[in-house]
Amino acid sequence: MITSEVILKSLSEVGSTVLMILAGTVVVEALLYLLLVKWLKYKYALPFMLLAPAAIGLIALVIYPLIWELRLSFTNMSLKAFKNPQFIGFKNYVRVFTEPVLKQKMFFPLLGQTVLWTVINITFHVGGGLFLAMLLNRNMRGRGIYRTLLILPWAIPQVIAVLAWRSEFNFTYGYFNIILTRLGLQPVQWMTDPTANFIAMCLTNIWLGIPFMSVTLLGGLQSISQEYYEAAEMDGANGWQQFKNITMPLLQPVITPAILLGTFWTFNNFNVPFFINQNELESSDIMVTGLFRAAFQYNRYGFSAAFAFVIFALLLIFTIFYTRYTSSLKGAYES
C-alpha cells in the first residue's frame, strides 16, 4: 500500500534538493554576471554563463571524485583504516598485478575473461544485428511489426530483463533445463558451474545487445543508394562481391562508431554479470563487477581505486588505437 507519509517524505526530499540546485545556480550566475560582464566585460561572458551549471556539476561529480580517487589509490584506505589512511606510494598498483584482485582471481585471468566476454558479445551483436538488418532491408509485408518486436529487448528495463533471464536459468524451473530434460539430456547447473554461468551471461547479453546493432545498421543500409547495386549487377558482380565491395565499405561510417560504443557498453556492462550470478560466483566476474566486489564487498578502497585506474588506462589505450586504426582505414578507402 502507498502511504501519504512516504509520498510526502520523498516529495520533500526531492523538492528540497531541486530548490537547492536552483538556489545554487542563481548564486553562481549572479557572481559570474558581476565578474565577467560588469567587471571584465569579457567577450565570451554569455557562453560561459550558459555553461556554468553543467561545468560545475561535472567538475563536482566527475573531475573532483576522479582526482580524489587518484589520491585514494596511493593510500591503504579500507574499512579498517577508514579515518586515517596512510600514504603507501605505488604499492597498490604493484599489488593489482602481483596479488589476487579478488579472493582467488588474479588480474590477468580476469582481463582475459573480460576480453573474451567482450569479443564474444560484440561478434554476435554485429553478426546477428547485420543479419537481421539485411533481412529487414527490403520491401516486405509486416516489416514494421518485425522491427517493433525485434527491438523489444532494448526497450525493457535492463534490471527486469536480466532478472527474468536469471530465472530461466533456474535448475528445476528454468526454461533451458525444462527443454534439456524433455529432450532427454542432462540439465545444466547454470548457477553454480563457472563455465555454464559464463555462457548464461553471454546468452543474456547477446539477446540484449542485438536490437541496438540491428537498428543502427538498418539505418546505415537504408542510406546506401540502390544504384550502386544496380551498377554492380550489370558488371556481373555476385552477391558476395556486392556485399564485400559495396555494403561493407559504405556501412563503415555507421559500423565503426557502433562497434566502439558497443565495446564500451559491453566491457563496462555491470547489470548482466552482476544480476545473473547475484554476486555469488567470483569466477564469473568481469573487470567492472570485480571492481565493485573489491570495493564494496571486500572494502579495499585504496586498492580498488588503483584497480579502477588500471582499467581506465586499458580503455583509454584501446580507444586511441581503435580510432587511429579506423581513421587510417578511412584514409585508405578515400585514396
Binding site: 534538493t17 518485425y146 563496462n268 547489470n271
Partner: protein
C-alpha cells in the same frame, strides 16, 4: 509484393537467378526466398519476445503453482492474484512513486542544464571549446563502478547516504554529457540566420534562444528528456549504493531485486511488478525509438 525490377532502365538486361542472393537487398526476391526470410524473422521475433511472455505467464499463475515446469503462456487457471498482492499488500506503489518523483525531477533539470550548455557549444567558438567536447565524450568511457568508489566515500563523509540529495544531484549530472552531444548536434542543424533575424527584430541573445531555437528543437528536447528519464528510471547501482538500507526510500529496481532474493524468490510478485513497471516504459520507447536512434547515431558519427 512484386515491385517491378529496378534495373528496367536497361531493357536488354535480365537479372539471372544466382545474382539474387542473400547478400543483395533484392527487390525481386523469389517467393521461396521470401518465405524463408519470413520464417527466419518470425523465429527471431519469438526469441526476442519469449522472456517477456514467460514473465507474463508467471505473473498470471495462482500462488500454489508458481513453481511449475508448465510452459504455457497463459496458464489454464490464470488469475490476477499476484497483481492484487503486489499493488495492495506490498510497498510496490511506494517504490514506483519514489522512482517517479526522482526521475521526473532529474530528467527535467538535466535537460535544462544540457540545453543551455549545448547552446553555448553550438553557437560560440570560445576558448576551451574543443577540449570541453572531447571531455564530454571521454566521460562516456568511465566505468560506472569506477566513479562509484569516490562518490560513495565522499557521500559518507558529507552525510548524504540514506537521502535523496546525492542521488538526485548525481542523476542530473551523469546524464549531461550525452544530452549535450545530442542537443548540440541538433542545434547545429538549425540555421543561425533565424536567431539573427530575431536579434534584428529586437530580441536579446537569450530571448532568441528561448523563443526561436528552443521551440524549433522540441523533438530533440523531447528525446533528451525521454533518454534521461529512462536512464534514471532504470538505474540500480547508484541507488543501491546511495540509499543504503532505507526501506521507505527504495526505488522500484531495488524493491524488485529484493523480491528476487537469494534464498526465497517471490516469483509471482516479481513478475507482476515487472509487467506493471515495464508497460509504460516499453510503450514510450517503441513510440520514440526512431528519433532516439537517429540521435544516437548523429552523436556517434560526429564524434
Amino acid at each position: 509484393m512484386s515491385t517491378p525490377s529496378s534495373v528496367s532502365a536497361n531493357p536488354e538486361y535480365v537479372p539471372t537467378r544466382h545474382k539474387r542472393s542473400f547478400f543483395r537487398s533484392g527487390r525481386e526476391d523469389s517467393p521461396f526466398k521470401r518465405l524463408i526470410i519470413h520464417i527466419v524473422l518470425i523465429l527471431a521475433c519469438i526469441v526476442s519476445v519469449f522472456p517477456v511472455l514467460r514473465v507474463l505467464a508467471i505473473s498470471l499463475r495462482p500462488g500454489n503453482r508458481l513453481m511449475s515446469t508448465d510452459l504455457a503462456i497463459i496458464p489454464a487457471d490464470a488469475t490476477l492474484e499476484s497483481y492484487r498482492i503486489i499493488l495492495f499488500e506490498k510497498p510496490f506503489l511506494n517504490w514506483v512513486w519514489n522512482s517517479a518523483a526522482i526521475t521526473i525531477a532529474t530528467a527535467l533539470i538535466g535537460v535544462i542544464i544540457a540545453a543551455t550548455a549545448a547552446y553555448a557549444f553550438s553557437r560560440w567558438k570560445f576558448p576551451g571549446r574543443s577540449v570541453g567536447l572531447v571531455f564530454l565524450l571521454a566521460t562516456q568511457m568511465i566505468p560506472a563502478s569506477m566513479l562509484m568508489i569516490p562518490i560513495y566515500i565522499l557521500a559518507i563523509k558529507l552525510n548524504l547516504v540514506g537521502t535523496y540529495r546525492g542521488l538526485v544531484i548525481a542523476y542530473c549530472v551523469t546524464s549531461i554529457p550525452f544530452s549535450v552531444w545530442i542537443l548540440k548536434g541538433y542545434f547545429d542543424t538549425v540555421p543561425v540566420d533565424l536567431e539573427e533575424a530575431a536579434r534584428i527584430d529586437g530580441c536579446s541573445q537569450l530571448q532568441a534562444f528561448w523563443r526561436v531555437l528552443l521551440p524549433l528543437s522540441t523533438p530533440a528536447l523531447a528525446i533528451t528528456f525521454l533518454f534521461n528519464f529512462m536512464s534514471a528510471w532504470n538505474e540500480y547501482l547508484l541507488a543501491r549504493v546511495m540509499l543504503g538500507s532505507q526501506e521507505s526510500l527504495m526505488t522500484w529496481p531495488l524493491g524488485l531485486q529484493r523480491l528476487q532474493g537469494q534464498f526465497q524468490t517471490q516469483w509471482g510478485l516479481f513478475s507482476a511488478g515487472s509487467i506493471l513497471v515495464m508497460i509504460p516504459v516499453v510503450i514510450l520507447f517503441l513510440y520514440s525509438s526512431k528519433y532516439l536512434i537517429s540521435g544516437l547515431t548523429l552523436g556517434g558519427v560526429k564524434g
